[in-house]
Symmetry: C2
Subunit: 603 residues, 2 copies
């Protein structure tokens, strides 16, 4: 597998020039000394760690996997050592509360660092990734005592976190949950039940594992309104931050999975496990959503990671492998054949992967500005507005980018031809790993329903209007400002995007009108609507990036900016046409989806 | 993993009603007693064998894989026993020459049987599948002595075949091949070299393995015009059909692959192996194409197999798994939730899988009529015409259907949610297996170049005109004959298809015109053109099937026909819009594909 290098320049370009993140940083209620120069240092160091410590363990981690023996899960060779270096370097504490040992940096910083870690080693990066969600939940909903008990250790990384929702018979539909919690009379609870698919559920990287668990209280109302959230540590907190007594949560088995073999995905048995209520009784799901929203944006960046890693492998191969002569004339007369990068279809595949990585990365960075304000904005009003925007973006990011991540990883195999199917090259591993991202933290279908149902229809189109207006105005401005003679591609791209941004609302309205008489219109259109939204959003990002890059035409780093414009051109020509396909599918309605009687599906 | 049942009814519907294959059978130079009734018996028996003997070994075969020890490859438990039953049942001899022990049936019969076998157990089915190609090559290009030496044993299944093209440094670009053959002076040759990725290259199912090998003679011209084809058996033929002396071909290793673990994909070392020239010196590639064409259509049916198997798993699950309530009202008031098949997006996924399976199957059956005539047509003229048609269809079938097979298998995982990612359910195996089909026997990119380059441009649009005319005429006729009041869906579908069939030629012409000044237009457009062609072809099949099914509205088997019409409606509404997306991408030209300098790809 080719060496992995972090696209640090791309991160810096986005932070500094495209989104001018420092303007927002100065308005936040966090570390005031934080500057883009400091950020550059963090990015450089995180890149070194990812390239040198994590990337070399990517393939061996897959091959070895996690092993369960006598209740103890051993992670692949090197994982534990890398994790020790990681916490020594202070990487788990980036965004943590300063008073509890954290560095108080904005969320956008850790999102980018996580993307690097995931690109280098997906299964490994899930361990600290899950801890972040636990921290966010405790920060928002924990009591002061709970914060003191758990946050310092989660922030310094000596303990890690998980999120326990799924049970064998229910994942999406948590209302069917059976795990129950009975009060012990001392303020604690006794929890019994079985949870499955628990990422980082059992492992040997940390001294303790803090499970955030949904369960039902004895008097719980039926359905999702009867779920409460509990902290259930593997070891109860002891004196002065050390671990105390072993708690009743045990790993029953490690799942045999398609990929992410280096992560200990556990079945956990809670056997009179001592738990501590977080937040209000029966209000666990809304508290859990603090966790879920963090996790969903993190999962979106896994789509970018798959695309980036696969692109790097495929482009390296395409620049080395010799096969056939270019149809437009011999390019490598001294060799037995031309490099395969000369062949247009290989370029098409590489550029698709690249556009997915760069476009997806820009989308996440764009949204992360709102994540920063949501978490560290000074006024309640600012925070609320950011939360609403982020709520609209999140399902698009999660659903759309992870689907495209799988596509990119698939193309990575394809560029390698038969070699892509062989484990040695690592390309098939990226594909296998990438697939989990469309499933966990809510499948693509769930993201799509969240988007069209809650974030568009229930929101009465408010966020959709704001965002589509922003895109339409920006495209229109760009259209008028661009010279036909100099940049015909730019004109065409802006015109296409303008049209699609306006059509976005039209489509949503059509769905809403039809849904008045046929509720199944919503579900029939949902994934097409999600994908349409994703392409428009990504198009907006490419327009922004292209504009900024065009302005740097005299810069010393000219190649980087030219490259960016060329990738954007490719996106507008070859990928954006997909939006209209999704629109056609939506506008054809629900009838052909719903007409088949259930029993016909088994015939 | 849910039980697998062969869609026998669908095969019979296609054979008997849609393509009326008996009309063509009566014109062929093969078994004259062959009838559709006999065919029904064959299909029923093959279905039993597939369901009872092969399907149960699908998952265990993946888990165990093939094991190489001391040069001997052991296949997974049960594979050998199933193969013994297979040859006892006479299944390897279906299409073989009657004089050499075969049953003399048309190729379309074995194509369908192979599809069943592959759907039941992909890795297992590759063993007899590869033998068929070896038989075809020997039939067409072998001497009488060679036919007598090898065909009886290949036809009775006691020996199996392979096809050895790829070497470590070249697969697509066979001109770079290094394996060489030196004359021994006695008419035989001494072959040295290394071949990789040899499917069924070493195993314990048969007494002997007959390798069909490309190699270079000492005086070979450079490039692909200097390749010769050799028979290199693992054991030289001995007396009266038994095996003789061990030949110098050895398995160096078994590839570690993403999927098809039950097939012994071998690296073979030829060490002064004794080989026998097939056909003319330096004319090996054209002889090998006899093999390749058989293999490519067989590979296309693997795409159908992936879609069918994955659909069956997903639809069974969707009819059992309970989650959430339907948005259009509770459907299962006595249960804790509704079946997930009630949710529109789950239906969308299932119907997409189903449309791919049924549409792809019809495409292959449609083409197999020409395969029958090509192999057993009475006049040279008939055979030539059939060959040309088949040549046009083959890259579409292979490239398009295998890509859609991967898509369908991906959706199968998605329907299962997180469970789809767990090995136990078998869905991820189908996905892993399915991916090989877009790679071997020529990647999708190679099929696409074959289509647009050789089969459209070099053919001067002849076959494209014939086929698009056929579709346009048929759509137009259907449009006029359909009543707006009774079948508005049918009208719309015919109108769409008519438009797309006409646009097909327009697009090809645009590519041709641009290619005059820019050869890279061809490669830039190739895969989009392949996919466009596939959707139009599949649309034609759904129109045909829908027409026939509509005429059976009073039949006792009414559910089957209604089901078919509903699947067709779904295809036209939700899948056919993809064709226009590919057209847009093609018409945007090559500039955005070619503009990026090579060195930018590594930045």
């Amino acid at each position: 597998m080719p060496d992995f290098r972090v696209p640090v320049e791309d991160y810096k370009f986005l932070f500094r020039h495209v989104f001018k993140m420092d303007e927002n940083y100065s308005k936040l209620n966090c570390d005031n000394d934080f500057s883009l120069d400091l950020l550059d240092t963090i990015l450089d160091e995180a890149a070194k760690f990812s390239e040198n410590e994590l990337a070399p363990l990517y393939q061996s981690g897959d091959e070895e996997g996690c092993v369960l023996e006598d209740g103890v899960v051993t992670t692949p060779k090197g994982f534990k050592e890398a994790y020790s270096k990681f916490i020594e370097g202070g990487w788990t504490s980036l965004t943590g509360d300063v008073e509890l040992g954290g560095q108080g940096l904005p969320s956008s910083v850790s999102l980018v660092v996580n993307e690097m870690l995931t690109t280098a080693n997906w299964a490994w990066a899930m361990y600290p990734g899950l801890s972040e969600g636990a921290v966010a939940t405790l920060e928002s909903h924990g009591t002061d005592a709970q914060k003191n008990d758990y946050l310092p250790r989660l922030i310094d990384g000596r303990w890690s976190g998980t999120m326990c929702l799924t049970e064998p018979h229910c994942g999406t539909d948590l209302g069917q949950m059976k795990t129950n919690a009975k009060p012990n009379g001392d303020g604690s609870f006794s929890v019994n039940g079985t949870k499955i698919f628990i990422s980082a559920g059992e492992h040997d990287l940390t001294e303790n594992i803090v499970h955030i668990v949904l369960a039902k209280l004895p008097d719980a109302p039926k359905g999702t309104k009867g779920l409460s959230l509990f902290i259930i540590p593997k070891y109860l907190p002891g004196e002065s931050g050390e671990v105390g007594k072993r708690n009743g949560v045990y790993c029953g088995s490690i799942e045999k999975k398609m990929g992410i073999h280096g992560n200990g995905t556990a079945l956990l048995n809670f056997d009179n496990a001592k738990g501590f209520l977080i937040g209000q009784p029966h209000d666990g799901l809304s508290a859990m959503f603090t966790y879920m929203n963090v996790a969903r944006i993190g999962t979106a960046s896994q789509g970018v990671a798959a695309a980036e890693r696969s692109y790097q492998g495929a482009s390296t191969y395409a620049l080395e492998r010799l096969a056939m002569r270019s149809l437009s004339g011999v390019k490598n007369p001294d060799g037995p054949a031309d490099k395969i990068v000369e062949h247009p279809d290989v370029r098409r595949m590489l550029l698709t992967q690249r556009a997915i990585a760069e476009g997806g990365r820009a989308m996440i960075m764009h949204a992360s500005e709102y994540a920063d304000t949501y978490r560290n904005g000074i006024s309640t009003n600012e925070r609320d507005q950011a939360e609403q925007k982020l709520g609209f973006f999140t399902p698009i990011l999660k659903g759309f980018i992870t689907e495209l991540g799988v596509e990119a990883a698939n193309l990575g195999i394809q560029v390698f031809g038969g070699h892509g199917y062989i484990k040695e090259w690592g390309m098939e591993q990226i594909f296998r790993d990438s697939k989990i991202a469309t499933l966990y933290e809510g499948t693509t279908g769930i993201q799509a329903l969240d988007l069209i149902g809650r974030k568009v229809l229930l929101d009465k189109f408010k966020q959709l209007k704001l965002f589509s207006n922003e895109i339409a105005k920006s495209s229109f401005k760009n259209l008028l400002a661009t010279s036909v003679r100099i940049n015909i591609k730019g004109i065409k791209a802006s015109a296409k995007l303008l049209k699609l941004a306006l059509k976005w609302r039209y489509i949503a309205l059509r769905i809403a009108l039809r849904a008045k008489t046929d509720r199944d219109e919503v579900g029939s259109a949902s994934v097409d609507f999600l994908m349409y939204s994703g392409y428009v959003y990504m198009g907006y990002m490419f327009m922004k990036m292209s504009q900024v890059a065009n302005n740097f035409s005299g810069d010393t780093n000219i190649d980087f900016y030219k490259n960016k414009v060329l990738t954007a051109n490719f996106f507008f020509d070859k990928i954006l046409p997909r939006a209209d396909m999704h629109a056609s599918s939506i506008l054809s309605g629900s009838q052909s989806v719903m007409a088949m009687p259930n029993e016909y599906f088994s015939q």
